[in-house]
């Protein structure tokens, strides 16, 4: 098997894993969303999106903390699904980097590690600690 074919075959395995990851994240989000719906519609039939008509900043960690304190498991599950989803492409870049290293493709491994670093940097910028 040629190096390129081997790389493609391994990348295929990673991509299939990602497909399952998307399904898992989707399942968690579905449970969270249905849970939220039950809470929202229990006794109120207005527009649940009306609160999003104006933008106001509410950092992720604070939102998680509030949901945790309020025992709002649907919101926590929804956030978990979203975090898993975001982690999937990052995992792909990480595994691609490992593959390039194993194949002694140092330059491309370095390039993949730069992409991974930039992804982590973007998350850090979002956290604004």
């Amino acid at each position: 098997m040629k190096d390129g074919d081997e790389l493609l075959s391994l990348e295929m395995k990673i991509s299939r894993f990602l497909r399952w990851g998307v399904l898992a994240a989707g399942a968690v989000m579905l449970v969270g969303w249905v849970g939220s719906l039950i809470r929202i519609h229990a006794g109120w039939s207005g527009n649940p999106y009306a609160i999003f008509e104006t933008y106001h900043s509410a950092p992720f960690l604070r939102e998680i903390g509030s949901a945790f304190q309020a025992g709002s498991w649907p919101i926590l599950l929804s956030y978990l699904g979203l975090v898993v989803l975001i982690a999937l492409p990052m995992t792909r870049v990480f595994l691609t980097m490992v593959l390039f290293f194993k194949q002694k493709e140092k330059t491309l491994a370095l390039v993949a590690s730069i992409v991974l670093f930039l992804l982590l940097l973007s998350m850090g910028l979002g956290l604004e600690i």
Binding site: G4, L7, L8, E11, M12, S15, L18, R19, G21, V22, L23, A25, G26, M29, L30, G32, W33, S36, N47, P48, Y49, A50, F52, E53, T54, Y55, S57, A58, P59, F60, L61, R62, E63, S78, Y79, G81, L82, L85, I86, L88, P89, M90, R92, V93, T96, T107, L108, V111, A112, I114, V115, L118, L119, L121, S122, M123, L125, G126, L127, E128
Partner: protein
């Protein structure tokens, strides 16, 4: 009722997106903002989550046909992700009215590009960076079965174009595949099928950079993003299976008219502030 409406629109968006080769965000962002009156910044962040979901789920399909240039994708992701970070940072200080205007102009450009025929100009000469990183490749022609070899030109120009595509992706909540493909076809002289497959493969990583940043900033609201992502995943799954049996040319022409109407509404809303 509103939630069901959002799911149905997302299913439709994912369905149409997979038939036309576009991300669902192009449909969902206008629906969220113009019909449900959700702030465009929430709509953009939710749309990026859908882009991540659909592209991660479809990555295996893109690789299976041997059209994706994996080595080139990794290199170009440096450009798209850097652009996405810039877009995220710019987005912090940009007014909502400007985003409406920019989205409207993007829809107009998309409509024009959908009508334009893509020209293929394959090169046999590698750019020095392409030579060093062995970015050239080959793919099997599905009609003749012959192996078609191609080289990669103008790598730095391609990287710069990817930077701007990434920036637009973060600012507007789109995959910006149209711009990536145009740069790969035009500047880098890749075969159209390779450009499309490689662009689709990269979209998830590009969107992750800004989607992750928006999530941690608190701009991704699960009440919007979750039903939207679920609807788009379902819709694109159905669309991919029905696509071979649909007259995509006719759908494309109808969609161009819809795009022009929506673009006008977005621009008007942007001007009105």
């Amino acid at each position: 009722m509103y939630s069901l409406f959002l799911v149905l629109v997302s299913v439709f968006g994912g369905f149409l997106g997979s038939i036309l080769g576009l991300g669902g965000g192009i449909i969902i962002v206008p629906v969220l903002t113009l019909i449900l009156h959700v702030d465009i910044r929430y709509a953009i962040a939710a749309s990026l989550i859908s882009v991540v979901a659909t592209s991660s789920g479809a990555a295996a399909g893109f690789l299976k046909d041997h059209l994706t240039n994996l080595r080139l994708a990794v290199l170009l992701e440096v450009g798209t992700v850097t652009g996405a970070i810039t877009g995220f940072l710019i987005g912090k200080s940009v007014k909502a009215s400007f985003l409406f205007l920019l989205f409207g102009v993007f829809l107009l450009l998309s409509a024009i590009m959908m009508l334009k025929r893509r020209d293929e100009a394959i090169t046999t000469e590698n750019h020095p960076w392409a030579e060093k990183l062995k970015l050239d490749g080959e793919y099997p022609d599905p009609r003749s079965g012959a192996v078609i070899r191609y080289s990669v030109a103008n790598v730095p120009v391609g990287l710069i174009a990817m930077y701007f595509a990434g920036m637009l992706s973060a600012l507007l909540g789109i995959g910006s595949g149209i711009f990536k493909v145009t740069a790969m076809d035009g500047a880098m002289k890749l075969p159209m099928k390779v450009s499309s497959a490689t662009s689709n493969f990269m979209i998830g990583v590009t969107a992750t950079a800004s989607a992750g940043a928006y999530l941690f900033r608190g701009q991704v609201k699960p009440e919007i993003a979750c039903p939207m992502a679920l609807g788009i995943i379902g819709g694109s799954w159905v669309g991919a299976r029905i696509m071979p049996h649909l007259p995509s040319g006719l759908v494309r022409k109808i969609f161009v008219v819809v795009l022009l109407v929506v673009a006008t509404q977005m621009i008007v809303k942007g001007i009105q502030g």
